[in-house]
Amino acid sequence: MTHAPSTAESELRTPGDSSPDAPHGASGEAIRAVPVRHYWRWVGAIAALLLAAAVIRLFVLSPNIDWDAVREFLTVHRILAGLRLTIIYTILSMALAIFLAVLMAVMRMSVNPVLSTISWLYIWLFRGTPALLQILFWFNIGLVIPKLWIGIPFTDFFLEADTNRVITTSVAAVLALGVCEGAYLAEIVRAGIQSVEFGQTEAALALGMKRSLAFRRIILPQAMRAIIPPTGNEFIGMLKTTSLVSVIAARELMTEAQNIAAQNFLTIELLIVAASWYLLVTTVMTVGQFYIERYYARGSSNRDLPPTPIQRMRTSFRRLLAPGGRPAGGLGATGPGGVDTIGGRPS
């Protein structure tokens, strides 16, 4: 406003307006006010910190935990071999689960009632029974089907083998984990596909695309955005679920930790060793998930992508070093400046 407002007008002024006769802050000066002190927040924080410290102290200084043993067994060969198997089981069973999930999700939505019923039954059965039970079942499948055979009719091709020689502990572990997980993932995939608007299918069909082409090029890529985050979650869940296959002595991390503990009675120490490795790997996976999600968020929003932790650190660091910069806003502050450096532009 450039003219001096009348009394009536000034009473109607909205908060955003400024006028020459306003007493303070007229020129858009930043507000400097004494903040409200939240004393109870401090009390709560201190109480929580004390409690946490007491719990940590209880473990760290406990005479019943041999921390040197923990350090020693952390990198012992059997533990590392077990860790390697844990990671292999995780990857293989997730690969099997993803394959089954996409297949079952597509079958579930099929107009063919036989296919959709089979898919429904699969999900019903494997999601409705405990994973531990399924692992034991696959491990003992030889009791039901003693021999496996494969042959092509009207030819001499015929192979036969003892089930127990084909379904080894490792195969049983991967089959059980993968088939079980596939049932959960199938629902995630189906929800993802159904989250894509029907108008997309319609537009694709109107352009002369066949259903399969429309699914592959138009629907699935858009569904991925909804499928990826929960799948990352399931991946992390799977890493921990592999510990269940210790019941069939599958020689992964948990089995090995328990086996060693059975020999030297350092039960807690070896559980801490296993826990440390699980935590380390899940942490690495969480970081990986952050970057994958960030990648699939591209094009989904016209806003800037959130800065990565490294970009955030770089921004704060630069702000601290900047001549005349205000260090007060430095550490941990993620103002609009944090977004500026995404392209690696020098500020």
Partner: protein, 262 residues
């Protein structure tokens, strides 16, 4: 019925004979008969729920009709007739026929994970088997035609509604259709963006494209259409030249509808 000035001897682009369509127990189309000559622009108007959009979707077989006959360019839609028996067409044949009919939707339905350019070239390459170079060149021409040459690398979300709809029109044109269907193309747009889209459609009509347009834009109908059909309750209540239907409606229901929208 057909009051357009086209020659009657030529095969009409769309020929509907007593088309019926029902969803469950609800009969949406109760005998639609209409002829659209090649090169004509026909506007379908009427209250929502009158069956305009459903009829449009029947033309490219996105909906199956339940009774009557529907021909596009002299060929039955979705079926083959032999010795008075109807045979359903295979998916591939249906797709090939749809590829010759362009469709523009109220909600644009651009592919959000593709840029404007990718939206335009996807179908020509994968359905018609064009080379990427040829498709890209043609796409640039079309984007220029709708005034969005510089937006080739933009994603749909970076475009305004009006720009998205113009890209959607260009996408349909990229398949070189012989018929264009428009399903309320400006209904989802802010008022100030409607003009650009209508201008593109008008240009298309001037080039001689056969168009069936479901719209509430009476100004466009009056200016561009060769014939206007007023639909209500699944039947055509009144039809004829735009001046006749819009300025001097004979039927009471038409009068009532027009008094509300004009």
């Amino acid at each position: 019925m057909n009051s357009t000035a086209e020659t009657r001897s030529a095969i009409p682009m769309v020929d509907a004979q007593s088309v019926h369509k029902r969803f469950g127990r609800l009969e949406v189309l109760k005998g639609i008969t209409m002829t659209v000559p090649a090169g004509a622009v026909v506007c379908l108007i009427g209250p929502s729920g009158s069956g305009k959009s459903t009829f449009l979707r029947c033309i490219n077989h996105l909906e199956k009709i339940d009774a009557g006959r529907l021909y596009v360019d002299g060929e039955l839609v979705g079926y083959r007739e032999k010795n008075e028996t109807l045979y359903e067409l295979k998916d591939k044949e249906v797709c090939n026929k749809r590829a010759e009919i362009g469709m523009v939707f109220q909600q644009f339905n651009l592919f959000p994970h593709f840029t404007a350019m990718q939206n335009l070239i996807e179908s020509p390459i994968r359905v018609k088997g064009e080379t990427k170079a040829a498709a890209t060149e043609r796409a640039r021409e079309l984007l220029a035609q709708v005034g969005l040459e510089e937006k080739a690398d933009s994603y749909p979300r970076q475009l305004s509604g009006g720009q998205q709809q113009r890209v959607a029109i260009a996408r349909a044109l990229a398949m070189d259709p012989k018929l264009m269907l428009f399903d309320e193309p400006t209904s989802a747009l802010d008022p100030e963006l409607v003009g650009d889209v209508l201008a593109v459609m008008k240009g298309l009509a001037e080039q001689g494209m056969t168009m069936v347009v479901v719209t509430h834009e009476m100004g466009f109908a009056r200016e561009v259409a060769d014939a206007v059909y007023f639909m209500d309750g699944g039947v055509i209540v009144e039809s004829g030249r735009p001046v006749a239907v819009l300025n001097n409606p004979q039927h009471e229901r038409t009068q009532l509808f027009l008094s509300k929208v004009l």
